[in-house]
């Protein structure tokens, strides 16, 4: 194959992987921004999105509907968990939050195993998305291009939400100074709940989008959560731009690394995360705490 075409295809592959990672990392960073904690359950939520997506599609035949129902289900679950469990922990130290979200990850993974069984589930892509296009005379799946578009659209939508809406204003204010935001008469508890639900919805949307590509299987969440951690730590916890850049870095490192340096790619991402955490503890685009 022509090296230029090969490189271009790898580039598109990397972008589509970055887009999927962006959905899950963005939620993590939103939650961190406002609550100063890491949500360990985010990978399991992503997995839930994949399963709900597949089932919706199997039952109704509509891929579009699966992209609505999966995030909706996850957002409701997130809301319920935030209201019932997390609110009790904001006064405690951060490790309690870390542990309780890890508990949710355990419980959710097992609940999914009970509900869907141990076998992987896959749904067919609708015909319109299942085709291939020719990029520099080489075939490339249309769906991967769709993913790139979806990632870009999500980035734009979130940016507008953060900078053009009242909720976004409150989210940014609360991430700067929650006590002051509350003192000014804003309902920070409601903002937290909204952010957690939104973040879960985003992760599940990513899962539903990923399902036709990777299938839904038990363990989908455990591998992807580590990638998301790496992204958020490198980009800067709580930073929108940092998350976008981090997603691209990890997406490219994995795609190109696996192709050109398969021995080193896996370790290099972790080494990069360690280096960033030590040299710039706030991440590349985060502020120092």
């Amino acid at each position: 194959m022509d090296p230029v075409a090969l490189f271009t295809l790898q580039l598109l592959n990397a972008l589509s992987l970055s887009a999927l990672l962006f959905f899950i990392a963005l939620g993590l960073t939103l939650i961190f921004g406002i609550m100063r904690v890491i949500n360990f359950a985010h990978g399991a939520i992503y997995m839930l999105g994949a399963y709900v997506g597949v089932t919706t599609q199997t039952l109704t035949g509509s891929f579009a509907l699966s992209l609505v129902l999966a995030p909706l289900a996850a957002a409701l679950l997130g809301l319920a968990f935030e209201r019932s469990a997390l609110t009790r922990l904001y006064a405690r130290e951060h490790s309690a939050f870390l542990l309780v979200t890890f508990g949710l990850a355990l419980a959710l993974t097992e609940a999914i195993r009970l509900a869907w069984g141990p076998d992987p589930r896959q749904a067919e892509l609708p015909a319109a998305l299942a085709g291939i296009v020719f990029v520099l005379d080489e075939p490339f799946p249309v769906y991967r291009l769709v993913l790139i578009g979806a990632g870009a659209a999500a980035a734009l939508a979130l940016w507008l939400l953060l900078h053009r809406t009242r909720l976004g204003l409150l989210m940014r204010a609360a991430s700067q100074n929650a006590a002051m935001t509350a003192a000014l008469g804003n309902d920070v508890a409601a903002v937290r709940a909204a952010v957690f639900a939104l973040a879960c919805g985003l992760a599940a949307l990513g899962g539903a989008l990923a399902a036709p590509l990777f299938t839904a299987y038990i363990g989908l969440g455990t591998s992807v959560i580590i990638d998301a951690f790496v992204i958020v730590m490198i980009g800067g916890m709580g930073s929108f731009v940092g998350t976008a850049v981090g997603s691209l870095l990890v997406g490219f490192a994995q795609t190109f690394g696996n192709f050109y340096f398969p021995e080193l790619a896996l370790g290099a991402t972790y080494a990069l995360m360690i280096a960033v955490l030590l040299l710039r503890p706030g991440g590349l685009f985060g502020r120092e705490e």
Partner: protein
């Protein structure tokens, strides 16, 4: 904690060791594994409970110790106890530079750093096939007794006793540390870092001491596990292992040393018994874990201590 506690713990471990000669073979094997897990949880409690450094990377020293021991057993044909001790020492040695970097931070950043180092170990072991066997791992790890009539240690009962001895020794070391001058300083750094520093204690070096001790004991546990399973694989390094041992510590009662050991053994046997009976066992465990973190942060041991206190008060009121 009453001063009698260590003696009670050692007596309990002695009973566990003696059970190795009484129980049927498969039960002894189970009990041996439970003892190794108890040692693993004990080592993590030093970090999580005593120093309040929540590590999500304890699979790192566990896996590292296992691979070191496997290497010593496979390549150098060393006797089992020597391989396990070698694993502990090698892990403690590696923990010095790793810990030096990790203990610059606390809280979430520490959790993420410890996780990243463990995953780095996973990546190295997974990809460096020439040495580690890659994703296949290293099968057929021998249990050599070596000279000096140590062959008995390679038998089912002998290995069981060896594991119990290791647990007793590790408990004495961990307990001795927490009540020692340096251990008290570690508690002070946990409670208020700035205050401890103003008294003249170096917070980072104090945390490093706990880190190295904790990793060394986890390496010992991992080394024993390699001899137990006779097989090591990259999965030992995977982060879910770190999460699993963390659950054992929290459910048992972080900061009590005894609690995590009980938690590890209880969880291991419950898993073994219940996972066969009901499919929803894992879900129930997850929910119980969430409830314990929220409502009973002192875990099983906190519950036991409260019950004992109530009992003592009742007996005092009614002489």
């Amino acid at each position: 904690m009453t001063p009698a506690a260590p003696r009670a713990v050692l007596a309990a471990i002695a009973v566990l060791a003696a059970l190795g000669f009484v129980l049927p073979g498969y039960a002894v094997t189970l009990l041996t594994e439970a003892i190794i897990l108890a040692l693993f949880a004990l080592s993590l409690d030093l970090l999580v409970g005593h120093a309040r450094l929540v590590s999500f990377g304890h699979a790192g020293p566990w896996g590292f110790g296992a691979y070191v021991a496997a290497g010593l057993l496979l390549v150098l044909q060393l006797p089992l106890p020597v391989a396990a001790l070698g694993a502990a020492l090698a892990t403690a040695l590696v923990a010095v530079p790793v810990g030096w970097l990790c203990v610059r931070t606390t809280g979430v950043a520490f959790a993420m750093l410890s996780l990243a180092f463990a995953q780095l170990g996973y990546a190295v072991v997974f990809k460096w096939s020439a040495v580690t066997g890659g994703s296949d791992g290293l099968p057929g790890v021998p249990r050599g007794g070596g000279p000096l009539g140590l062959d008995w240690l390679a038998t089912r009962e002998g290995f069981h006793v060896l594991a119990a001895l290791a647990l007793a020794g590790a408990y004495l070391i961990a307990r001795g540390f927490t009540v020692s001058p340096l251990g008290r300083v570690a508690a002070a750094v946990r409670e208020n870092e700035a205050r401890a520093q103003a008294l003249g204690y170096d917070p980072r070096r104090t945390r490093l001491a706990v880190f190295v001790l904790s990793y060394g004991l986890a390496g010992l546990a991992g080394g024993l596990y390699a001899g137990f399973a006779r097989y090591v694989s990259p999965e030992l390094f995977f982060w879910t292992v770190s999460g699993h041992v963390l659950v054992m510590v929290i459910l048992g009662g972080a900061g009590t040393l005894v609690g995590p050991m009980i938690g590890a053994m209880a969880l291991f046997f419950l898993e073994h018994q219940l996972s066969g009976l009901t499919e929803s066992w894992g879900l129930a465990l997850g929910i119980v874990f969430i409830l314990v973190v929220i409502f009973a942060p002192r875990g099983l041991m906190g519950w036991i201590e409260d019950a004992l206190r109530r009992g003592r008060r009742a007996s005092r009121a009614d002489p």
